[in-house]
Subunit: 193 residues, 2 copies
DNA sequence: AGGGTTCTGCACCGACCGGTACTTAATTGA
DNA sequence: TCAATTAAGTACCGGTCGGTGCAGAACCCT
């Protein structure tokens, strides 16, 4: 009961996510955020709490949406296919035709002032979690005989994650998807048979 | 003539560079910058112009100092040695024992508000220039027969740059130098003979 | 119809942002 | 000794930051 909300929370969150994606956490002002969301600051505070909680929800949406490739890739049948799907997904997500370049989880708050340390750490954890899931998938691949018995799952996962982060920076540098795909191919040349 | 400067410009610039490195361009406030430099805002403006020009000079110092490994690596005798020296240098520079983690050129302004677009573009150019120099070095290696005739210098350079950027993010994530060196070794497994 | 509840829009908060005018201090050359 | 010149320190500028108090609007239930 009470007055119903005059805007679509999902759509507002989607737009906030894109602003954070393009500007970073600190670079995104409440004025620009709420302007893009089509609501006033008061409505934003009522619906999301504050700027930091809005970012947390935007990051969650990012993981369920644009960055869902990271989870989907884990379902590929072989470790090589997982790695390839992961990096191809990174390329596609960091170079959206009509959206911001790069990766929200990378450029959201790589460096920040002390006040934003909480968000900085949140993103570091987010990135590390993605690496751990990849590592577990590769460990399974070793157990299944899909990867050589002497392969180091943690090393491989960290390598792939490093490539993903690097691709995010290259995308922010303006490289095209086709050029990034070439880089991915080069990176996988040394992948264990 | 006139009253002599009461501080060491080089030392002040070094300290400013470290603040920018840790906080990013927008995250570094004039108060924190001048506090670390040990001077007042007035002195900073008289000596450096404004915040953006201070950053430009700090970036130049970064290239001549911590990031000089990128230029030194080009002098290695073989393409493989160049790539290895470049990435080992990236590891060492992005994990200084007493300094900020990561790479100033990466985390200085990956995402930013419109007002800082100039700095954002400056860093993108800086990163691209490093890639171009690497590419030219690899092209020379192909001509010298050091790399196979069918090797693509641009592709290889972009791959190494991507690894460097990724290492910078992993360093900001808290990985230790030894762990990053492992990643470098993994990355070079597929390097053309 | 009217109370209870929730949301919206406006105006406003103190704090901090990058940047500067002005006074005072320290130096050189005459 | 004293004007000319440059640096340093203080106090301040308008603007924007994230965040709120408050009044009115829009809904549900009785």
């Amino acid at each position: 009961m009470g007055r119903p909300r005059g805007f679509d929370v999902d759509q507002a969150l989607e737009r906030a996510m894109r602003v954070f994606w393009a500007r970073g956490y600190e670079g995104a002002s409440l004025a620009e955020l709420t302007g893009a969301m089509g609501i006033t600051k008061t409505s934003m505070y009522a619906a999301f709490g504050n700027k930091e909680q809005l970012f947390r929800k935007a990051l969650q949406r990012y993981g369920d949406g644009p960055a869902a490739y990271a989870t989907r890739a884990l379902e590929e049948p072989t470790a090589r296919a997982v790695a390839l799907a992961f990096l191809r997904g990174a390329v596609r997500t960091t170079t959206p035709p009509g959206g911001p370049s790069g990766c929200l989880a990378v450029q959201g708050a790589l460096a920040s002032s002390d006040e934003s340390r909480a968000v900085h750490d949140l993103l570091a954890d987010w990135r590390n979690d993605a690496g751990v899931r990849l590592e577990e998938r590769f460990r399974r691949a070793v157990n299944e005989g899909d990867l050589p018995r002497d392969a180091d799952p943690r090393r491989l996962a960290r390598f792939i994650m490093t490539m993903g982060f690097g691709i995010a920076v290259q995308a922010a540098n303006g490289l095209a998807p086709a050029e990034l795909d070439e880089i991915v191919d080069t990176a996988l040349l040394g992948w264990p048979a």
